[in-house]
């Protein structure tokens, strides 16, 4: 009986000693990121500054100036410009910029960027094809003529007025 209990304890100890799956730790990070963002941004009409946010504002200004020097004004030009900048960053600048970040593990994503971007493009193309197919089917229906624009509206969600 004692041996059995020891076996159970040993199994439990082995189980607890096993590292948590990678994705679980990353998901824990998600919770940290969400909580930190909520704490920093709050939910009122005004934002209370702390040392961290004051530093972030200064860093952001420097970052903005850097991009403004390259002919792009990131903020203060309205959401249309912000969207343009976002598009440009995704299309042209991110790989180069990320490669500049030598030494950081984030720069590893520079090598993976094309893969990830390709994955993103493939998904978008598949979605567009599906939307087109759905719209074609809807057009063929003589009973209502309504088109299913749910997926296309979902495809564009979150892309408006994004910083």
């Amino acid at each position: 009986m004692l041996a059995g209990a020891l076996l159970v304890l040993l199994s439990a100890a082995q189980a607890s000693a096993q590292p948590a799956p990678s994705i679980d730790r990353a998901v824990e990070g998600v919770a940290l990121g969400l909580a930190a963002a909520s704490e920093v941004a709050g939910d009122g009409d005004v934002i209370v500054l702390d040392e961290g946010l004051i530093t972030a504002l200064g860093v952001f200004d420097a970052w903005q100036l850097k991009h403004a020097d390259a002919g792009r004004v990131i903020r203060g030009q309205g959401p249309e410009n912000a969207q343009d900048v976002h598009t440009a960053l995704l299309a042209e600048e991110i790989p180069g910029q990320m490669k500049k970040v030598s030494g950081s593990k984030l720069s590893a994503l520079a090598d993976a960027y094309e893969v990830l971007k390709g994955k993103s493009d493939e998904a978008k193309q598949a979605k567009d094809a599906k939307d087109k197919s759905n719209n074609g089917k809807s057009d063929d229906k003589s009973d209502n003529g309504k088109s299913d624009d749910k997926s296309s509206s979902e495809a564009s969600r979150g892309q408006q007025n994004r910083p």
């Binding site: 990678s22 994705i23 730790r25 990353a26 998901v27 990070g29 998600v30 919770a31 940290l32 990121g33 969400l34 930190a36 963002a37 909520s38 704490e39 920093v40 941004a41 009409d45 005004v46 934002i47 209370v48 500054l49 961290g52 004051i54 972030a56 504002l57 860093v59 952001f60 200004d61 420097a62 970052w63 100036l65 903020r75 203060g76 960053l89 995704l90 910029q97 990320m98 970040v101 030494g103 950081s104 593990k105 984030l106 590893a108 994503l109 090598d111 993976a112 893969v115 990830l116 971007k117 994955k119 993103s120 493009d121 998904a123 978008k124 495809a155 969600r157 979150g158 994004r162 910083p163």
Partner: protein, 157 residues
Amino acid sequence: MSSGRLLGGIAIGLVLVACTGGDTATTVSGSEPSVVVTSTTEVDTTDLSPGDTLPREDVPPLALYLAAIDRGLMGTDYEGDVYVDPDGYVNVGRLFCALLDADVTPTGVLESYIAALEAEYGELSDDDLVLGGVILGASVQLICPDYLDDLQAIQDE
């Protein structure tokens, strides 16, 4: 594997931009003497003190994003790294949002992140994993909030 803070050679100067424009003025209240800023999104950070308040519309979301990343990574190997490499963090956050726009699930984004780093560095540390999660959480909350429900869902799984 080397530690997370590997950008010691890069220094980012904090260029503090003086306000130069704006049609109207807004008084910023706080525990310190009031600071006057313009109604534009330009913020003069030279006279700001902890406890001051700013209208939400005067605080750029990306500045909030950087501050959130810094807070979320406190106590990890990456503490302070966001201010050394704001480009990298902003770009990865936007990349994550772009993947979500393309219908990649939040779990898929994290898996891609992990796979990309593992391919480069082999086994990842806890802090490496937390890094990706913090970036995803902060970017969804402040850059592409339409995916908040999707992100909440993976935490409940």
